[in-house]
Symmetry: C2
């Protein structure tokens, strides 16, 4: 049975030492998040997820969800009860707006809890995860009435939410949406169409499900400019705003998937369902992107959260499994063989995953601080810079952390040998569940294109210029610190390569857009390596401040960081060389040749 | 439903043009394999696998195998009938010894057929695959009587074979084997113990199953030097050498696995089963390695065979799926969007997989020729060199082709977006099935250690010295051919890095063996890139000879090869840099820190 222990100490280090979040007490909600309070929340969350949510992970995989004859969906044994406790404990509403019943705490605290949910049980975490995205879209673009009507129950978790984008003929290309919205003259619309891959589209854990649905109002312009966003509740609210009449929306089937079996992935049929427009007509994409960006950050988290739990299990196995002797001499003379952790190639897989995961967590926590600054900072300049960072780095976080997180899951499975392939040990589930994270909320290829096609160019490159300047400043500040030399040099080197890649893109993409596309994924990886090096310098700096400490935590942190610089950064040169090849050969074959 | 078309044209190109196998007509069996004959076998095999074996692939995944109450195992619907046809058509006996009913044809032809079996249906292919390994061990180390008794029916496929190595406490470290063999005084032994992960250990497709079992004779030395190999038939043969009394061996359970559901992965219980010693007492490992080496070559094949079929499906999807417009302008004005093959990042995934797969096939075909030279060449020098090559390159072929093949399956799934994650499209099965290939027959980490720890050092480095000399010769021969410049330069460059890595290993591994272990996997990858560049130069050379041809096949081959050189070789520098880091940081943490 797989194990999981929430990495509370690592989170505390990031929050208190690296990000020093107590410095931001001028931001709304941050003053309440004293170090003691934060520690208490982390401990409570750890206990709950370890004891309640994690034990349901294998159950969810084995049982999956069941669609009953009446179209209702039953979640795996225990999910409903655990979700109730999850809501009662307030793990879903940590950072939500107090005006609608939320706790108004900093986002990093919400993400710390979400990491624990995800590492414990990816499928389970998607139910509140999707709700949070829908909540945010209504919060940002809904009318006051809509917010008052829907948000409090979504905050409490009594109602959940969904995102309905995909249709059989359109995934990435939402301009092809066919679902129709017919105005009824009373301010409502009749929504008709079929949506697929709707996570948590139907289930038995909530009293109502608030679907956010992209559809096209009759006569709207073609393509993306004719898409509107609607609220379609499963149960239409009665005069007391309680779930009343059943709306004409139903689950037509569940997908059979490679992983995340515990999550209900639904075909949703809208047969003239009553819907309420969010924001303006034909401006649905803007509102949807509020959900998408938040969701992409959450998916980035899923990447490293998966590799965290996979790593923990691999580490436990590596210390326990006795097989062969160390090539440098027997380490466990009383046993029939040495624990496999003595073998360098086993260490390689553990250290690869660990060095990535710790930096991935730092990056997401750092980003949640930016997300809070974006909306809560008192001055426009800070808000703008944070907004630029989020726009620029969201595709990097989503794309690179899931790319590498999946690799971490695979390496962790590999370490188990044949046991990794047997479902009994649970490693297969980590790989199968994590597999979706490189795909949903925009495939990693789409993230890469978003990065080079939109985010680099936006506002004349203001985002990357600010970010690169921040790196230069950090490098300059620490350049004379001998303890940090390796980290400073590493960041300098990878950043120089990223700058070179950025310049290449700027010069060559104009001549032929396909060059940008051809190098986009390598560019994203190069960017990812840079951001993780940035995080390692920040972490190393904090660890070095404790260098007199007896606590091995800080020394271990520096070793892990050193490993990252030494063994990850050689990849930067390969990515740069690949992206500079351009698209000529890649695009040379006729389509028929494939 | 996934598709598969056997790559007959590619195989013909390799056999006739690149390897020019007709030049080896002095080897036994090769004269019979005329070009026309080869083409006929390939066509027959293609037809059979496409029509009979491939349609059972999804069936096998969904149904899996069933262990019945009496311990018997039922294979998925259709497997038994297809296996009968497979045997009748002789696909399992192509290269087997005519003395025992085999066709005595060149090994490359057997492997061409095996590639088709594997691409069509990995699980199905394992039944004859394991048999072939057992056949080879008996053929190489069995007594004349054993050979006459067991081989003919294994050649015909009426009986199948298995390899019984693993026990719960030992996988890689076979010295820990506990299964016991008790001499009965009549030349037979009673075998007692439990074996796990026995592929095709029990099933309903054959009249008898010939288990090869590693066990320890009472009083044998500890560890690897006290292991003997036994033949343990499921049914003991009667006086007419027909299956008679049931032996005391039974299937105690089936593993629930991530993939290859159609193959029965058995717990095998030996309860005083009658066994017959193969070869000498305590020399079982030597005989077992005959099976292992053959099996490792076969697993290397599985890596690229999986990416071949995954690629084919991805290519079909990429030409069919309409989504978004090309960034360089509309390519499909009559449709609602362009086929996704116009997008560079989609091409990247296709070209990555294709450029790998074509070279992987070339490497395995080239290696099978070496394997034939090893046993059939008239002169000792050729046999020795081929033997050295096989020893050196088997871990590279097993490790690198499965490592990269798994990536090809994943990239192909990725190309499908959300559909890739839904079982309905079949891409998940390719990934799940292929996942085992990086693990079984020695994990890729074990291959890497075998390469640096044994194969490099063997006979004073005779193997790699000969191989590097062959590369130098090839480079010198083609250095003035302008058409091949890119390929020659690419091979030169990657080989220089491999030489540098080899020297680093030689120098540093002596000081600290952990340095060798720490860099072993990167060294294996660097070696893999070199061998594939070698193959691309050979293929490019043949393609260039047809440069006046109107047939786009040759031009496309050169484009694909160019892509390999341009976009794979940048990784060589990263591997070299990583391996030269050594083990200090990797091994620095205390085990408790994990």
């Amino acid at each position: 049975m797989p194990v999981y222990e929430a990495p509370v100490r690592d989170m505390q280090f990031l929050i208190h030492d690296v990000l020093q979040t107590q410095k931001y007490s001028n931001l709304p909600g941050f003053a309440d998040a004293t170090p003691d309070f934060i520690d208490a929340v982390l401990e409570e969350s750890a206990k709950f997820h370890q004891q309640v949510v994690q034990p349901l992970n294998v159950v969810g995989d084995k049982e999956g969800c069941t669609r009953n004859a009446d179209g209702s969906v039953t979640t795996p044994t225990g999910f409903k009860e655990a979700y109730k406790q999850f809501c009662e404990n307030g793990f879903g509403s940590i950072a939500m707006d107090p005006e609608y019943g939320g706790q108004g705490l900093p986002l990093f605290l919400a993400y710390a809890a979400t990491e624990m949910t995800t590492s414990s049980n990816h499928s389970f975490g998607m139910y509140p995860g999707l709700s949070a995205g829908a909540w945010r879209a209504i919060h940002a673009h809904g009318s006051d009435t809509q917010k008052k009507t829907f948000l409090p129950k979504m905050t409490s978790g009594e109602w959940t939410g969904t995102m309905n984008l995909t249709e059989p003929q359109c995934g990435t290309d939402l301009g092809l949406i066919r679902s129709k919205a017919e105005p009824q003259g009373d301010g409502t619309y009749k929504i008709t169409g079929q949506k697929i891959w709707i996570s948590a589209g139907e289930h038995d854990m909530a009293d109502n499900i608030i679907h956010l649905v992209l559809a096209r109002i009759e006569g709207a312009p073609d393509g993306i400019k004719g898409i509107s966003l609607f609220i379609v509740p499963k149960f239409i609210l009665d005069e007391n705003e309680n779930p009343g009449e059943r709306n004409a929306v139903s689950c037509g089937g569940l997908e059979e998937k490679m992983g995340i079996h515990g999550n209900a992935t639904c075909v949703m049929n809208y047969d003239g369902a009553t819907g309420y427009l969010i924001g303006e007509e034909n401006k649905g994409m803007r509102a949807m992107f509020v959900m998408m960006n938040e969701a992409r950050l959450g998916v980035g988290l899923q990447g490293y959260a998966a590799s965290e739990v996979a790593y923990q299990n691999a580490a436990a196995f590596a210390k326990d499994r006795l097989q062969s002797r160390s090539i440098t001499g027997t380490k466990n003379p009383d046993g029939p063989a040495d624990p496999i952790i003595v073998h360098p190639d086993v260490r390689r897989m553990l250290m690869d995953t660990r060095a990535f995961t710790e930096a991935g967590r730092a990056l997401v926590f750092w980003a949640t601080l930016q997300a809070d600054l974006e909306t809560k900072a008192p001055d426009e300049e800070t808000r703008q810079k944070a907004d630029d960072y989020m726009a620029l780095l969201t595709p990097v976080i989503k794309g690179y952390l899931t790319h590498r997180g999946y690799q971490g899951c695979n390496d962790s499975l590999q370490l188990f040998g044949g046991s990794g392939f047997c479902e009994e040990w649970g490693m297969s589930q980590f790989v199968r569940d994590c597999r979706i994270s490189t795909i949903y909320e925009g495939t990693n290829g789409v993230q890469a294109l978003d990065l080079v096609g939109r985010k680099l160019m936006a506002d004349g490159g203001r985002g990357w210029q600010a970010y690169f300047a921040e790196l230069d400043e950090l490098i300059a500040e620490n350049e004379n610190n001998e303890d940090l030399k390796l980290f400073v040099d590493g960041l300098k080197d990878v950043k120089a390569k990223l700058v070179e890649g950025t310049q290449w893109m700027a010069t060559n993409a104009m001549a032929n857009f396909d060059h940008a596309g051809a190098g986009s994924f390598d560019y994203l990886c190069l960017f990812g390596l840079t951001t993780l090096s940035h995080m390692w310098l920040l972490m190393a700096k904090s660890a070095v401040e404790h260098k007199q400490s007896e606590d091995p935590f800080y020394k271990n942190k520096l070793v892990t960081g050193r490993y990252f610089i030494e063994r990850f950064l050689p990849e930067a040169g390969a990515h740069l060389a690949k992206l500079k090849i351009g698209s000529d050969t890649m695009m040379a074959l006729e389509a028929e040749a494939f």
